[in-house]
């Protein structure tokens, strides 16, 4: 019997919120989250000011989609499974307002669109349950070293293409513990 994505999501979310609240049986929760990321899934990338946003603060820069150093991985969260609140909780763990690194919202993307651009999305639950990576297939050089020109152009093209595929959903109240913004969907 094939279980639809929305049913899988409902089951996972119920288990996830129960196990998050009680702190037990988290391993079991992982069984409910499929390791294969399907084309229908929606993923989000947490956006921080100021370096992910243009000067007005409402538009994304392509820099928001630069891979982690020396890897081809761009961290995302599987928001088809994690709730918006859970995504925000995780995002806020990464912010540091004292260092002017504030959570501002999410870039929302559809997995099928990303694969259409010849990139991939994989589960990487070793970080935390619900974490994923966009894999670009292009790794950067070591710290402090510029990329070769053709590699630089390729990375810029990939970042621009992810920018074109994404929708920025601004958090109307970043200080609130819960997500109070609109639904995290790739379409307006």
């Amino acid at each position: 019997m094939k279980i639809s994505l929305s049913n899988k999501r409902q089951i996972f979310r119920m288990a996830h919120s129960f196990f998050t609240a009680t702190g037990v049986g988290f391993r079991f929760c992982g069984i409910l989250l499929p390791k294969a990321v399907s084309d229908e899934e929606v993923i989000v990338r947490a956006i921080f000011s100021p370096y992910h946003l243009k000067s007005g603060g409402t538009k994304l820069k392509r820099d928001a989609f630069f891979p982690s150093p020396s890897t081809d991985e761009i961290s995302v969260m599987r928001s088809s499974f994690l709730s918006s609140d859970a995504c925000k909780r995780k995002a806020r763990e990464l912010e540091s307002p004292t260092h002017k690194k504030e959570f501002k919202g999410f870039a929302v993307l559809n997995v099928g669109d990303i694969r259409g651009a010849e990139l991939d999305v994989v589960d990487s639950r070793i970080e935390f349950l619900g974490h994923g990576d966009i894999r670009t297939g292009v790794s950067g050089p070591p710290k402090g070293t510029p990329c070769d020109p053709d590699l630089r152009e390729r990375i810029d093209q990939i970042s621009s293409s992810l920018l074109g595929l994404s929708r920025f959903v601004e958090d109307p109240d970043p200080s609130a513990a819960r997500w109070l913004g609109p639904g995290l969907t790739p379409d307006d």
């Binding site: 912010e95 950067g140 990329c147």
Partner: protein
Amino acid sequence: MTVPGVLSLSGNDCLNVFNGYSQRLSDADSARGSVRGVAGPDDDPLWEWKKDHYRQLWAQFGFLDGSLKSFGETLVNIQAPTSLSAGSREETLQYIDELGHLEDGWDGYEGYSPSLSACGNARSVITCIAAEFPKLPSPEIGPTTNGTLTLAWKAPAGNACIEIGDSLYSAYIRVRDEFVPLKGECSELGERQLQLIWSRLYQ
């Protein structure tokens, strides 16, 4: 960071601009551009036609903080970069200094902070632009996750990027099918490379 100027176009100007850019627009990758949050008037018979042009204009200028605004008296509002005036040069240098104080993880993830030597190298390039290429538009400057800085230009003719590291630089100029790669020691980075960018993109 760009230092934008604003070009506001009225309805007729807009059509002229479309015609003026028609050759370039036909080459633009319109599929990559998308107009978000812009609704067309239901009773405008030319809306589909206009929307297509707006998309292409967006693809062409979106990188420049470009914004498509109201569809009333002002049809299109494009923000284009200006050259480095004395004031904006100071502002740009200050911004580079600010980047020199970033800490690892500045991007919210695992990004390395740019080193002071990378920032010093970027300052030299900006000083060279201001002194030798006053008409060259201000580049968009940003840190990368591997601790380097990029200076990027996008023009209707093409785009260019210089990536500056601790001691090495790399650069490319892309004009349609032509790709010009450059790399070397930061100490060699200056007039020659900027002249190439100026001539390929803006002359």
